[in-house]
């Protein structure tokens, strides 16, 4: 027997704030859903049932006492397991951090708690967010709720699967090259990568610092907007945080797209499979029907995005991941001297993909290669930004596929890193440019699996981006309700 369709975060928060529903009941209802399908899907590294019930009870107490319980009162949220949670294991799905309990909360986690959200668990990911299928987890893969023989995408695969399965209406992920948008597309949910610096990275375990950005995953555009409003805004603990308040997104959602200039991004659409490309075309026409001005747009340098990304991200990662050396926290494999201990620890603690990227990045930074690789990739980044600026001179938004294909089978690409990396081809340009982009579900592919359409905007262009996403959602092609395995 199917559970009742999951309520949205907007509905839950309204009902809890009004005293119509108790947060503890909402929490138990979602934990029950987790109990039903978690074994099959493996969305979580850690379910926080007790902490969640305690947080929910505190929300109920606030409501009963007449205090403002916050805009996300009683809303269950799951966190990608690379976000630090005080006293709660934070593993990045890596052996090297197994058992580590951070002594502090990430800024986004603090903001969620203050907003009355109820964190129900930490979700699985590709180790240190390096991957596009969630198969690189040291603790086993997550499966796609729409078809458990398929991957949920990655690296925020656990978060996307949890939202798609109705475990929670909201999730946080991190997006370095597409790690929110790609799994959102493959799982049929909304996923947002905000402008670089809009959301504090403090407490997000770093993969590639100049690209990483935390963002929401949700079943609806409105829920994603609500969550982003809560987590966005300046944080003095992150030097790269944009010094301005969170944008007002929810209020803008019903403003429509009348008069917005939307360009279909040719370079990114050409490479997509025909069924995905058709959905992008359909989405463009839907926006046009809603009043947007439509044409084609070009960002030529975006074709170099993937190659530049796979130099920059590994380079920064090679440095960010140096600290996992067995001296201060996490795994230690002992050795006769400190150097031997480092090597033994890191060799045992990191999985193959992480090692691959650390080596690639170390090589790209090493003496004699810096200019040709890392330095050149940073210059290409400038070219991509310039091309985007040219496109945005005549457009408000750009439209593209989120992924070249729908969800692929587990194991299909694990033996061929470059084939796996190609999953990010449509998403990395926004990370390199530091610009926002979101994926909104828009129908399905020939295989019946969800397709995501990507809306790209210039830096800090989140409001228009969300308006377009709301219009696409309203066009009616997106799947609704929790994903169930097709029989």
């Amino acid at each position: 027997m199917s559970p009742a369709p999951a309520a949205t975060a907007v509905d839950i928060a309204r009902a809890v704030r009004a005293g119509e529903r108790r947060a503890v009941d909402v929490t138990d209802e979602h934990l029950a859903r987790v109990g039903e399908r978690e074994q099959e899907l493996h969305a979580f590294n850690h379910v926080m049932a007790e902490e969640a019930r305690a947080a929910a009870a505190a929300v109920d107490g606030a409501v009963a006492a007449g205090r403002d319980p916050g805009p996300l009162a009683g809303v269950p949220v799951v966190l990608k397991d690379n976000l630090c949670t005080r006293g709660v294991p934070t593993t990045c799905s890596s052996r090297i951090l197994e058992g580590w309990r951070p002594p502090y909360d990430a800024t986004v986690v603090t903001r969620l708690r203050e907003a009355g959200a109820v964190v129900i668990g930490k979700t699985n990911l590709d180790e240190f967010a390096m991957g596009s299928s969630s198969e690189n987890s040291a603790f086993g893969p997550t499966r796609n709720p729409h078809d458990p023989s398929r991957v949920p995408g990655g690296s925020s695969g656990g978060s996307a699967a949890a939202v798609a399965a109705g475990f929670a209406p909201l999730a946080l992920g991190s997006d370095t090259g597409g790690s929110i948008r790609q799994p959102a597309a493959l799982c049929g949910v909304v996923g947002v990568k905000p402008t670089y610096g809009l959301v504090s990275r403090y407490g997000l375990v770093a993969f590639a610092s100049s690209l990483d950005q935390i963002g929401p995953l949700a079943t609806t555009v409105a829920d994603a907007a609500l969550l982003l409003e809560v987590i966005a805004g300046h944080d003095p603990a992150d030097s790269t945080s944009v010094p301005r308040p969170a944008p007002e997104l929810v209020a803008a959602l019903d403003e429509g797209v009348d008069g917005l200039r939307v360009g279909v991004l040719t370079e990114l659409t050409e490479g997509a499979s025909p069924d995905v490309a058709a959905r992008v075309e359909q989405a463009a026409r839907a926006l046009e029907a809603a009043g947007a001005k439509l044409d084609e747009a070009s960002v030529p340098a975006a074709t170099y995005g993937l190659s530049a990304y796979y130099l920059i991200a590994p380079a920064e990662a090679s440095s960010n991941l140096a600290r996992y050396d067995g001296a201060r926290y996490g795994l230690r494999v002992d050795g006769p001297d400190v150097g031997a201990m480092y090597t033994a620890t890191r060799s045992a603690g990191f999985g193959a993909e992480v090692k691959r990227r650390i080596m690639l990045g170390t090589y790209a930074l090493s003496a004699g290669y810096y200019d040709a690789y890392y330095g050149q990739a940073q210059r290409v980044r400038t070219l991509i930004i310039r091309d985007f600026e040219a496109a945005y001179a005549t457009h408000d938004l750009l439209l593209a596929p989120t992924t070249p294909t729908t969800a692929f089978a587990l194991g299909a690409k694990t033996g061929d890193p470059w084939a796996m990396y190609l999953s990010d081809v449509c998403t990395v340009p926004s990370n390199l440019a530091g610009q926002p982009a979101l994926s909104v579900p828009f129908g399905s592919g020939d295989d019946g699996l969800p397709v995501g359409v990507q809306v790209l905007a210039p830096a800090l262009g989140e409001v228009a981006m969300f308006r377009a996403a709301a219009a696409l959602e309203g066009a009616g092609a997106g799947p609704s309700g929790p994903a169930r395995e097709r029989s």
Partner: protein, 481 residues
């Protein structure tokens, strides 16, 4: 060991690491304090915990700018890089440092002997934690484990890199002393070497003296240099430079090359040894620190820093020396201890300059905290009493000690202590008594055995319990002769 091998000139460039006197660390709000219990001034940032991010301390930037301005550097827009290497004292296994775009470039420092030493750069970086090697010997060799305290990790440092303009161990010592005085004067650092807040690496090479026995060829070019680490005092610096000069010149005289390498100074053994482990060639893989944004001090900030710089030691030495009528080198200690304002004030008040300098360099320098609170008028009055021989030197020092500890009027202190200059009668009686008591010695003095003068002065001083003025006693004895 000889200071320099004959025929060879030492060429030295110094890298001085100076801990800044901020309240907090460079990238987090942990206290910047020396001597606290291990690992009590730590947080996610300075422990390099996953997810933590650095935020730059504005005061550290300002102090770096003060150092730059005082060293006549160009204060520039700058960025931070990551210097990647694995070592247990570095929590992130990279150090955040400035690399090819440092905040200060191209200045100089003038030494008391008139030498101008170029300053290549003075950049900001974070300090490392403190490693203790534990085991049989307590030193790095023979230790079986190491313990790490991260209280110092992330403390702000400015690394001041000189040009290779230094030509002797003495000059190197003078450079460090002058730099210390400057760092203290601008309020950038307490510059306490014994607490590690000033640490020195030396780049040393030798080359033939142009006028020496070696051929002149190549003497204007620099030899291959070695970098000497672990110099924790000015004394170590001088010893290490002496040793290294001898080592390198001996190699060259034997026809062997000097290897460009890093060498460790062993204080106990008094020698340097190669640090390079065989397989390791360091490749720091510098790249711009993505967690920080550029520092671009505007003109207003730079001007404000320059405007609030104090008068620097070199200028202060010249000022005081001119006022006292002595050479600048003679007032270096008084300026170094920050007593020059006081000494200038008492000279202006009519005190004898040499006497004022002597008391400042000795009694006041020994009790600096109190000396800084000393009332210049009282000090002036005391110096005049001594110059007028109303007090003996011993009595004056005693009054000064009282002034330092309790303050007050020197005349009243002297009176209360019974320090009235001895009348001529009392002195004459004491001289008579001394002569009568030691007729044989007196005869020998009269015969020209001058060293006995001291004997009689001592006897008279003892008889008057030190109240007599030494010069007056000598005079009375001479008259008697």
């Amino acid at each position: 060991m000889t200071a320099t091998a004959t025929g060879w000139e030492t060429v030295v460039g110094l890298e001085v690491h100076c801990e800044l006197a901020t309240a907090t660390k460079l990238f987090c709000g942990c206290r910047n304090a020396f001597g606290d219990e291990p690992n009590t001034n730590v947080c996610p940032v300075c422990l390099g915990l996953p997810g933590s991010l650095p935020v730059l301390n504005r005061q550290a930037v300002e102090l770096a700018m003060r150092i730059g301005a005082a060293l006549h550097c160009e204060v520039r827009p700058s960025i931070f890089h990551r210097k990647n290497y694995f070592y247990p004292d570095m929590p992130k296994d990279y150090q955040i440092s400035q690399y090819d775009e440092p905040i200060n470039v191209g200045g100089w420092l003038d030494l008391p002997d008139g030498t101008r030493v170029g300053v290549t750069r003075a950049h900001l970086e974070e300090d490392t934690g403190k490693t203790t090697h534990v085991g049989t010997s307590g030193r790095i060799h023979g230790a079986d484990r190491a313990l790490v305290d991260y209280n110092r990790a992330g403390v702000p440092l400015v690394e001041i890199v000189s040009e290779p303009d230094i030509r002797s161990p003495e000059q190197a010592a003078a450079y460090v002393n002058e730099l210390r005085a400057l760092l203290v004067a601008v309020g950038a650092s307490d510059a306490r070497m014994e607490e590690g807040s000033l640490r020195i690496d030396a780049n040393v090479s030798v080359r033939p003296l142009r006028s020496g026995p070696q051929p002149a060829a190549g003497a204007t070019e620099l030899g291959t240099r070695a970098e000497i680490k672990n110099l924790n005092s000015v004394r170590s610096l001088r010893r290490a430079l002496d040793h290294e000069t001898a080592r390198q010149s001996a190699l060259l005289e034997a026809g062997a090359p000097v290897v460009q390498e890093t060498r460790h100074w062993n204080e106990d053994e008094g020698r340097t040894s190669s640090m390079r482990s065989k397989e390791e060639a360091f490749d720091y893989r510098y790249f711009p620190e993505p967690d920080l944004v550029p520092v671009a001090p505007d003109e207003q900030w730079r001007a404000a820093v320059a405007d609030t710089l104090p008068v620097l030691p070199a200028a202060r030495r010249e000022s005081l020396a001119a006022k006292a009528g002595v050479a600048p080198a003679e007032v270096a200690l008084v300026v170094d201890r920050g007593l020059d304002d006081l000494v200038e004030a008492v000279i202006d008040g009519g005190a004898d300059p040499r006497l004022a300098l002597a008391r400042a360099a000795n009694e006041l320098a020994a009790d600096l905290d109190r000396a800084r609170a000393l009332d210049p008028a009282a000090f002036t009055a005391l110096l005049r009493m001594e110059a007028d021989r109303r007090l003996t030197a011993t009595q004056a020092k005693s009054v000064l000690a009282e002034l330092l500890s309790s303050g007050g009027d020197p005349a009243e202190i002297a009176a209360a202590a019974g320090y009235e200059a001895l009348g001529g009668d009392v002195l004459a009686e004491a001289v008579d008594a001394a002569v009568a008591a030691h007729p044989a010695e007196w005869a020998r003095l009269r015969d020209g055995e001058q060293k006995l003068m001291g004997f009689f002065v001592g006897k008279v001083m003892a008889a008057t319990r030190g109240r007599a003025d030494g010069r007056a006693v000598t005079e009375a004895l001479r008259t008697r002769l």
